[in-house]
């Protein structure tokens, strides 16, 4: 247990937000820290204005089809970008009373956009999807800048290196590829093949999240080490690579097989990994882990289970975690007062280092 880090960063719940019968997959803070944006299965981006009191819900942003599967905020402007599972990519003023799209690309991909990333200076966007494509866009107007050679399988994750000249993207088969933005050429690959297995007929796994530390010296890739398909079980895992040498530095196992995927994670400036996992319903937590330690120095409470997204406030003192309502699974007819209910996603705002 890393007591000193725990003392400084122990999270304390501030409030829990949710939208009835709506499941979320993503949470992001605006760059000025004034807004919290969340998105998921209802094809909308939900907004909350943050202040001293309870966050105030603002009008949701509609216009997407299927699920909203990508969401990023411009690092300097009040512009947000969202992508969906039907292939649409759009930009909009995140703080407007009634946001209108600044631009829209109706078919940025053929179907499900799995990930959306923004460059450190906010000038470029990168998208990847089930169509095997990785595409670069001008963030100002949505015009295509570059398309990488198409893969025959899904690309799940993409991230910009902090220096802004390279991207990395990760695919179904656990391959992480570094690409030079200037010419689109592949530079090298990082092996995350442990994130894939073929289970009977099913391809299982994939690189679910990629991120860098602030200085670009460490690359992190996450997913699961699958032990089977169908229900899908596997150890939730983060791989840390030294960016200069390409060598794997650490393999962090963040839970048991029933906790399964590390859906999102980030590398804190203090050198620990903030991650969320989700597996068999009832499992999957928020955790803080110092690489090299045997165990996380913080694991979130049972009340926050099946976690899918985590965002760090620009001030560094707050976290938002998207989890899933309890008792989310069940065969047959789960009725309440004769009505068939869906699940929802508690969004927990937490203060770091609170006494």
């Amino acid at each position: 247990m890393n007591e000193s880090l725990l003392e400084r960063y122990r999270p304390k719940e501030q409030t829990v937000l949710s939208v009835p019968e709506t499941q979320m997959m993503l949470a992001r803070f605006s760059s000025d820290g004034q807004l919290l944006l969340t998105a998921g299965f209802d094809g909308q981006v939900h907004r909350w204005r943050l202040g001293e009191g309870e966050p105030a819900a603002l009008k949701a942003v509609a216009g997407h089809g299927g699920w909203v599967t990508g969401l990023v905020c411009h690092p300097k402007q009040s512009v947000a970008y969202s992508a969906d599972s039907w292939g649409k990519l759009q930009a909009w003023d995140s703080s407007a009373e009634e946001p209108k799209p600044a631009w829209t690309v109706q078919q940025a991909h053929d179907g499900w956009i799995q990930c959306l990333a923004i460059s450190p200076d906010g000038s470029l966007l990168a998208t990847c999807g089930n169509d095997g494509c990785v595409r670069i866009w001008n963030a100002a107007d949505g015009k295509p800048v570059r398309e990488l050679p198409r893969r025959p399988h899904a690309v799940y994750s993409v991230a910009f290196h902090p220096a802004g000249e390279r991207i990395v993207w990760g695919d179904l088969f656990g391959q992480v590829v570094e690409t030079n933005l200037a010419d689109g050429k592949e530079v090298r690959t990082f092996d995350a093949g442990m994130f894939y297995s073929l289970s009977r007929l099913q391809d299982v796994g994939g690189v679910r999240c990629l991120t860098f530390d602030r200085n670009g010296k460490t690359l992190a890739a996450s997913g699961t080490v699958p032990s089977g398909g169908g229900t899908v079980q596997g150890e939730p895992t983060v791989l840390l690579f030294d960016w200069d040498s390409g060598k794997q530095l650490h393999k962090l196992t963040l839970g048991a097989k029933n906790e399964c995927f590390v859906h999102e994670m980030m590398l804190h400036d203090e050198g620990f990994v903030i991650a969320v996992t989700s597996g068999t319903p009832g499992n999957g937590r928020l955790s803080f882990t110092k690489p090299g330690d045997e165990k996380p120095f913080f694991v979130g409470p049972n009340s926050m289970q099946n976690c899918h997204s985590v965002a760090l406030h620009p001030g560094g003192k707050r976290l938002a975690v998207v989890s899933t309502s309890r008792g989310s699974n069940g065969n047959g007819r789960p009725l309440k007062d004769g009505k068939y209910l869906g699940n929802h996603s508690p969004i927990t705002l937490m203060e770091l280092g609170a006494a």
Partner: protein, 429 residues
């Protein structure tokens, strides 16, 4: 949730000895007691030589990610729906090949079955859930083997191409007697040790068989005729399989055929299944495991469904091209559907309340959809159809009147499908 595996220890590898031993044992247990109350009708049916190809996805195919998509609704998931070759009919974007062929197929979107567990679901669905009369009913494959007979090929009437190990699965036959069980070809391979051992000369083999025949005669003289019939059948099966080793020779199949079905385990098994159907096997079951996507359902279906789409489309094409469509009933289904509600593992659980089955070929209308679910896909709107209705429909499509034809279980008349159910008339030609 534990997933059910049909690969039980007693199935294990099939050897020639096991085929013979298994069936001979069945003979001693009273093979063939299950007969038909109308033998003349049975003979007429056998002359028509109808066939069935039954594609079984063990677990549950999500109806929302296949035949009954509800895009843009609360439980609709991430995928789009696409237009099919039938005007106004949309299916999931994960099935682009089948979408082009839906004018040949029949879709029932109003299945409402009862069991949401694997332990009950597999047997209940494949036995057609008849009324409980204190007997174990046959699986559909065994029923068809009994009702339609083996045809002229001499091949076993019920072949099951499955992943993993093979074996003779007599439990499928229920009260019909083990002769109507499934000959399971593990990974589509021939039974191990089927062929005469190279060190055994043909002359020695013949002498051995002669000795067997003599012992059989002595055995049969003291037992009921069915027992002797069973033994004869056993050796007929083995000898025909030995003569049809070409069916197992994958080298005879051009590369483009494997490509059309897809270079996957399922694609390969579907093509092997087609070859057995083409050779005259009455009932061919092709099985895929792993359809129990309680977690990561959408990425799972993204991987699974297109592989099935490709192979099923190739099967439709081949049955039509080979002139088999009018005599063959093609079916694809699973144990149940999957919940509209999406759980925290981004999975869907078991949902027998509102799901779909696709079928095509003999006795069915083409390009037809029967039944519907509500806007969110949670319940059936209008008439619900249980598996008993589906069995009635299948039997009728095969030219068997499920209201007249009965099994004769040692003098006990038994209906072939649930007495209280009926055919889904909208889909019958």
């Amino acid at each position: 949730m534990k997933s059910s595996s049909l690969c039980k220890p007693w199935e294990h590898r099939l050897s020639r000895r096991q085929v013979l031993g298994g069936l001979a044992g069945a003979a001693a247990a009273g093979l063939g007691l299950g007969s038909l109350t109308q033998p003349l009708l049975a003979e007429q049916l056998k002359k028509q030589h109808k066939q069935v190809i039954f594609v079984w996805l063990d677990g549950g195919l999500s109806q929302l990610e296949s035949w009954d998509p509800k895009p843009g609704t609360q439980f609709g998931g991430p995928f789009r729906a696409i237009q099919t070759s039938v005007p106004g009919l949309h299916i999931s974007e994960l099935m682009p090949q089948m979408a082009k062929r839906m004018h040949h197929l029949t879709l029932v979107r109003s299945l409402c079955t009862k069991d949401n567990s694997h332990s009950a679901g597999v047997a209940r669905i494949q036995r057609g859930d008849p009324k409980n009369r204190g007997v174990t009913y046959p699986y559909f494959g065994s029923a068809v083997a009994k009702l339609l007979g083996p045809g002229d090929s001499g091949l076993p009437p019920y072949i099951w191409v499955k992943p993993g190990s093979g074996g003779f699965v007599d439990k499928d036959a229920g009260f019909l007697g083990a002769k109507y069980g499934a000959l399971a070809l593990g990974d589509g391979k021939p039974p191990e040790n089927l062929l005469r051992h190279p060190e055994l000369s043909q002359r020695d083999d013949e002498e051995r068989n002669e000795l067997r025949r003599m012992i059989n005669q002595r055995y049969a003289a003291r037992r009921r005729p069915q027992s002797n019939e069973a033994n004869s059948y056993v050796y007929d099966v083995a000898s025909v399989l030995m003569e049809r080793m070409d069916l197992f020779d994958e080298g005879q199949v051009p590369d483009k055929e494997w490509d059309r079905y897809g270079r996957t385990e399922f694609g390969r098994h579907m093509l092997i299944g087609r070859r057995f159907a083409e050779a005259g096997v009455t009932f061919v079951k092709i099985n895929s495991y792993g359809w129990d996507t309680h977690g990561d359902n959408f990425n799972g279906h993204l991987s699974l469904v297109p592989k099935v789409d490709q192979a099923l489309a190739a099967m439709v094409d081949d049955l039509i091209d080979r002139g088999m469509w009018d005599n063959t009933l093609l079916i694809m289904m699973s144990e149940f559907g999957r919940t509209p509600r999406i759980n925290g593992h981004i999975g869907r659980d078991h949902w027998p309340e509102a799901w779909s089955v696709v079928m095509g070929g003999t006795g069915l209308k083409q390009g037809v959809v029967a039944g519907q679910t509500n806007k969110e896909g949670t319940w059936v709107e209008g008439d619900e159809h249980d598996i008993g209705h589906v069995f009635h429909t299948w039997f009728r499509a095969l030219g068997i009147d499920p209201h007249r034809v009965e099994y004769d279980n040692a003098g006990q008349p038994l209906p072939i499908a649930h007495d209280d159910c009926h055919e889904i008339q909208e889909v019958l030609a």
